[in-house]
């Protein structure tokens, strides 16, 4: 049994906006073990990114309010940490890779400066040792001629190359937990595949836990050990990838999988999920997916279903499970 790195319990983050209070993250619970990759899947607006930001407590103030729950990293509750302590944790014990490589690196500073900055503060290195460590990290993410590359500026690099640099920064500590927020969405296919392999390799080498946020089920299948499907700020189903892909229990998960073309599948017509994604500001009491759910029952509209186990390590939040 590998040790649990991250244990999130009833995490809530609400946002005060002009349209009322939005429960972007509404009571999330999940764990990620050492060396394990948890996929976070869901449509846009399901709260995937907000979850990541809430874990590293960078949800945009003054709108965001931490409305409860606990985030245990190796037993340490991050929500209880002071700003100073959090700042020490970010980058060292929890690292993050953002979505758009084109704008993740600071355009006016050299790659070297942006690499040396975290390495110097994590490892206290100076001068030549610092330079070598930075070059070594670039080599670790398979960037050719790392020494010269340190002198280059972001705009002199391709998207894929930049995302590798961000990856190198992420593993600088190396961290206990790496959060990748749709890191390959804006890369084209071939580069995407290489990057995913690289992440896998780095994970095996450093044994960090990883949360991989995406709305691409293909990537989930390839990268993740377990997957959590999010809808309107809640996890509607969580379990091993194999089980969810072969025997999804929650109607939303089933609909998601049905709308994905399969190699060799006979269907001509892909089924789309009708209706609109929920307006987070005006969520009713019941299950958020009720208006679009094929198996909707009276109860679904009135009462929000609790999380119930439907198999080993396989939970779901739907009244169908009770039947």
């Amino acid at each position: 049994m590998s040790t649990t790195v991250l244990d999130v319990r009833e995490l809530r983050t609400h946002l005060v906006t002009r349209w009322g209070t939005i429960k972007a993250v509404d009571g999330l619970s999940f764990t990620v073990d050492e060396g394990e990759t948890l996929g976070l899947v869901g449509e846009s607006g399901s709260g995937k990114s907000m979850t990541c930001l809430s874990i590293v407590r960078l949800a945009p103030r003054p709108a965001a309010r931490e409305a409860g729950g606990r985030v245990l990293l190796d037993g340490d509750d991050l929500l209880a940490k002071s700003a100073r302590e959090m700042q020490q944790i970010r980058g060292r014990r929890v690292a993050m890779i953002l979505q758009d490589p084109m704008s993740s690196l600071n355009p006016v500073f050299s790659v070297g400066m942006q690499m040396r900055e975290p390495v110097a503060s994590y490892h206290g290195l100076r001068g030549r040792a610092l330079q070598e460590k930075a070059a070594a990290l670039l080599a670790a993410v398979r960037i050719p001629a790392p020494a010269e590359r340190l002198r280059a500026y972001p705009h002199q690099m391709s998207g894929g190359m930049r995302q590798r640099v961000v990856g190198a920064m992420a593993i600088a500590a190396p961290p206990r937990l790496l959060i990748a927020d749709e890191p390959t969405t804006s890369l084209d296919l071939t580069i995407q595949a290489q990057y995913l392999n690289l992440l896998k390799e780095l994970q095996q080498q450093h044994r960090f836990a990883m949360i991989f946020v995406t709305h691409n089920l293909g990537i989930v299948a390839r990268m993740c050990d377990r997957v959590a499907v999010m809808y309107a700020g809640r996890i509607v189903e969580i379990g091993a990838v194999r089980t969810l892909f072969t025997a999804p229990r929650h109607p939303y998960t089933q609909a998601l999988l049905a709308s994905v073309p399969r190699l060799g599948a006979k269907q001509e017509q892909l089924t789309a999920i009708d209706g609109q994604p929920p307006d987070l500001a005006t969520l009713g009491a019941g299950c958020a997916f009720a208006p679009r759910c094929a198996h909707v029952m009276e109860r679904c509209r009135v009462e929000a279903p609790p999380e119930t186990a439907v198999g080993a390590g396989h939970q779901m939040r739907c009244w169908l499970s009770a039947r």
Partner: protein
């Protein structure tokens, strides 16, 4: 980089050439300078002598050619009013103008930067509202009114600071502040909005995620990017400083180029008018060039493109 400087300089020369024609015509349109200098009793013969002595009897084209020809080598002719070589007058007054403009630029940067940045970082708080007020006041107080109020109260009654330039650093404060104040508003608003833009960016989010301490994120990562639009406007700000200096020089008795231009115009002193306008234009062009180089220092993307 060098090619860029050469192209810019040649373009500035073209602009100066256009300007020299415009100012040559405008100066002469102000009227007959001699009536200001010669006494009431001057006879027609006196006028003829003076016109010959000052070379005003030659055709306009001849006068223009000799003006531009000599201006190229720094000789702007003799002032009709002060009967002294104009270049000498300018050499006496230019340092004062330059020091005042530099000090004013320093003042506006010293005020605009902290205010602009803090207003962006602490958006919506008291500082932000304060910056808003400074910005509105900056754009709605006529420079001369502020100058006179400062002279009357701060220098005259409270006697904290000297009212007139006497060489000490303290004497720069009031005129520098008055001149700089006009530019503070514009620069601060621009810095605040560009900081807001940058603080929203992905690389700032990544810096925070990397565990960079907040002050370093704001004052290094964010500021260097936010500077870009401010620097592009710095050229315009400097030309505003140089052009509104006349008013400050009048109130604070500061012997600068602005005052020289004012006397030149009221005295219909062609050589002085032409010289001052060209010298100011040249300074503004050089400063703009300097600003663009500064721009390249800040933003590497520009360096490669040029």
């Amino acid at each position: 980089m060098l090619r860029f400087v050469v192209v810019r300089l040649s373009q500035s020369l073209v602009a100066l050439a256009i300007l020299s024609v415009v100012v040559f015509i405008l100066a002469r349109a102000t009227g007959d300078p001699l009536s200001m200098v010669l006494p009431m009793s001057a006879t027609e013969e006196d006028y003829a002598n003076a016109r010959a002595y000052l070379g005003l009897d030659r055709s306009y084209l001849e006068q223009y050619v000799s003006f531009v020809g000599r201006a190229a080598i720094g000789d702007f002719g003799t002032s009709i009013r002060a009967r002294r070589p104009v270049s000498e007058l300018i050499r006496e007054r230019l340092p004062n103008s330059f020091k005042l403009a530099a000090f004013a630029m320093g003042v506006s940067v010293a005020m605009a930067f902290p205010l602009g940045i803090l207003a962006a970082v602490k958006k919506g708080t008291a500082i932000d509202r304060g910056a808003q007020i400074v910005s509105i006041l900056g754009q709605s107080l006529p420079t001369f009114w502020l100058a006179i109020v400062l002279v009357e109260f701060v220098a005259g009654r409270l006697q904290w600071l000297p009212a007139v330039g006497d060489g000490t650093l303290a004497s720069y404060v009031l005129p520098g502040f008055t001149l700089g104040w006009f530019v503070v508003a514009g620069m601060m608003r621009l810095l605040r909005s560009s900081m807001l833009e940058v603080l929203d960016s992905e690389y700032v989010k990544l810096a925070r995620v990397k565990g960079v301490i907040e002050p370093r994120v704001v004052w290094l990562h964010a500021l260097k990017n936010a500077l870009i639009p401010v620097v592009t406007f710095a050229g315009i700000y400097f030309s505003i400083l140089v052009t509104t200096a006349i008013v400050v020089e009048t109130v604070f008795a500061w012997p600068g180029l602005g005052r020289l231009a004012y006397e030149g115009i009221t005295g219909r002193d062609f050589p002085v008018i032409q010289a001052v306008v060209l010298v100011t234009a040249a300074i503004v062009a050089v400063v703009n060039l300097g600003v663009d180089c500064l721009y390249a220092v800040i933003d590497p993307r520009i360096r490669v493109a040029r």
